[in-house]
C-alpha cells in the first residue's frame, strides 16, 4: 500500500509539473491545448539527444530542455495562436488546430528519432533502491520529486512576487479589465508560453527518468494532466499540482485491484467522478457548466 502511494507520488510529481503549464495556458489564453502532451515528449527527446550524443549528465539537460520547450511554445504562439486570435477564431477552431499541432509534433519526433522506445544513459547506481526505507525508491525517483518541488517553488515565487506573475494572474481573472488597466497583454502571453512550454519540456525529462521514452509518452500523459487540472480546479496552478499528485496516487493504487493496463482508465474515471460530483474541483472558483 505504502509502496503504491510512493510510486504515485513520483508519477504525480511529473503530472503536477506538466499540468501547471496546461492550466496556465488554459486560464490565460483560453486555449485547451491538446498539443501539450507532445510538448512534454519534445522535452524528453531534447534531453535524450543531449544525453546520448553529447554525453551530457541528465541534470544538465534540464536548462536546455526548458529553453527549447519555451522556444517551441513562443514559436507556436507566433506562427499559429496569435494569427488565430487576430482572426477571432472560435474555441473549437483552437482545439482542432491544437490537435493538428499534436499530430505534427509527434510525427516529426517519429521522423527524426524513430518510433522505438529509448532510455537515458543514467549511472547504474541511480536505479538501485535506497537503503533502509519502508518503501522501495531509487535515487532517481527521489530526485524527480525534489526537482518537482523546486520547480513548483519557482512557479509559486514567480506568480506571487513578480510583476509579470501578478499580470498573469490578472489576465486569468479578467482579460479585458487587465488590458484597460495597462497590462502588457503580449508580454504576458509570451511569458505564459515560456513558462508553459518550458515546464512541459522539463516535465518530459523527469518523466523520461522514471519510464521508457517513446513518441507517444506525452500523448498518454494528456488524460492524467487534464484529470489533474480538473480535479484541482481548472485555472488554478496550485490546484493542478495537488491534483497531479492525487491522480498519480489514484492511478498507482488502482494496480492493487485492477490490471496495470487500466491505470489510464482509472485516472480518467476519477476525472469524470469529479466533474459529476464537484465540477469546480478542489480549489476552483469558476463553474464549469
Amino acid at each position: 500500500m505504502l509502496q503504491f502511494i510512493a510510486n504515485g507520488v513520483v508519477v504525480g510529481a511529473v503530472v503536477a509539473v506538466t499540468a501547471v503549464g496546461l492550466t496556465l495556458v488554459y486560464s490565460i489564453l483560453k486555449l485547451t491545448n491538446f498539443a501539450h502532451g507532445d510538448m512534454v515528449t519534445f522535452g524528453a527527446y531534447v534531453a535524450l539527444l543531449l544525453n546520448l550524443s553529447l554525453g551530457l549528465d541528465i541534470w544538465w539537460t534540464l536548462p536546455p530542455a526548458f529553453l527549447a520547450g519555451a522556444l517551441l511554445g513562443v514559436l507556436g504562439d507566433r506562427l499559429i495562436w496569435s494569427r488565430m486570435r487576430r482572426r477571432q477564431a472560435g474555441s473549437v477552431s483552437f482545439i482542432v488546430a491544437s490537435i493538428g499541432l499534436a499530430l505534427a509534433l509527434r510525427n516529426l519526433i517519429v521522423f527524426f528519432f524513430g518510433a522505438q522506445t529509448q532510455h537515458f544513459r543514467l549511472p547504474v547506481e541511480m536505479r538501485q533502491p535506497l537503503g533502509p526505507l519502508p518503501v522501495k525508491l531509487t535515487p532517481d525517483e527521489v530526485h524527480v520529486i525534489v526537482a518537482a518541488v523546486v520547480l513548483f517553488a519557482g512557479v509559486h515565487a514567480l506568480l506571487r512576487y513578480t510583476t509579470i506573475g501578478r499580470a498573469m494572474r490578472a489576465m486569468a481573472d479578467n482579460p479585458s479589465l487587465s488590458w484597460v488597466s495597462g497590462v502588457d497583454v503580449d508580454r504576458v502571453i509570451t511569458w505564459t508560453w515560456i513558462l508553459g512550454g518550458g515546464l512541459a519540456a522539463v516535465g518530459g525529462v523527469l518523466y523520461g527518468m522514471i519510464r521508457p521514452i517513446d513518441p507517444n509518452m506525452g500523448w498518454f500523459l494528456l488524460l492524467p494532466m487534464f484529470a489533474a487540472i480538473i480535479l484541482g480546479g481548472i485555472g488554478n496552478a496550485y490546484g493542478a499540482a495537488v491534483g497531479g499528485v492525487l491522480i498519480g496516487i489514484i492511478q498507482e493504487a488502482s494496480v492493487m485491484f485492477l490490471p496495470a493496463e487500466y491505470r489510464l482508465a482509472v485516472g480518467f474515471l476519477a476525472m469524470i467522478a469529479v466533474l459529476l460530483t464537484y465540477p469546480r474541483g478542489l480549489f476552483g472558483e469558476r463553474s464549469l457548466t
Binding site: A89, V96, G100, L101, N107, L223, F268
Partner: protein
Amino acid sequence: MSMLLGYFAGFLTNVVIYTLFVIGLNLQFGYTGLINFGHVAFLAVGAYTVAILVTHHAPILLAVLAGMAVAALFSFLLGYPALRLRDDYLAIVTIGFAEVLRIWLNNVSFTNGPEGIGGFAVPLSWLPVSHDAWRWLFLLLCAAVTAVVFAAVEYLARSPWGRVLKAIREDEDVAVALGKNIVSYKLAALALGAAIAGLAGGLTAFFYQYINPHNFEATITFEAWTIMVLGGVGKNWGAVLGAVIYFGLYTITSEFTSSPIGPFSTDQLAALRIVLIGVVLILLMIYRPQGILGRKEDLGLDR
C-alpha cells in the same frame, strides 16, 4: 489491370465508409455543435458488435442493426453525464472515453484482446462471384447504405427537429427560452450520430474481415475531423468532398512512400504524411475554419 481495379474498389470503399462515419460526426458537431473527439469509439463498438454476433452465426442484417443500437447505447452512457458540461470538457471527456474503450477492448477476453476477431461471414458471400467482383458488389452495397443515410440526415436537418438542433448550436439560451429541452435534443443528436458511426463500424468489419483494437486508435477520430473541416462543417456534401480529397491525397502520397526515398525509410515517410495532416488541419483552422463547402455562419461556436 484487374489488380489495379481491385485497388480502386478498395479506395472507393474507404471513401464511402469514411463519408458515412463523417456524416455521423457532422450531425453531432456540424448541426448541433457537440465537440465529439471520441467518434472512433462508436465505430469500434459497431465493428465489434457485428464481428462478435456474426461469429456466433447471427444473421448479418440483425448484427448490423444491433451494432447501431449498441453504439447508440454507449453514446447515452457517455452523453448523459458529459452533455451537461461546457464544450471543451466534452472534448476531453469524449477523447478519454474512446481511449478507455480501446484499452478495455484490448484487455477483455470476449474480444480476443490484441489478437482481434476474424473469419466471420460477410454480406453477399453467397453470390457465386470472384473475390474482385465481390469487392465491387460490396462497394455498391456500402454506397447504397451511405446514400440512404445521407438522404435521411438531409431530410432530418430540414425538419423542425433539425432546426432546433441548429438553434442549439447558434444560441442555447434562445432554444431554452423557446421551451426546448436542450439536453434531450443533444442526446438524440449524439445517439443518432453514434448509430451512424456504428453502422460505419459494421461495414468496416466486413471490409477488413478482421478487426483488432489497433484499428480504432484516436487517429481515426482526427482523420474524420480533418475530412469534416476540409469538406465543410454543417454540410453533408462536405463529408463526401472531404473524404475524396483526403483519401485521394492519402493514396497518392502512399504511392510515393511505399518505397524508401533517398535516406528516408518508409516509416519516416509515413510519419511525414501524418505531419502533413496536422499542418493541413492547422492551416485550415487559421485561414478557412468552415472548410471548402461550409459557410462561416454555420460555425455556430466560431463567431
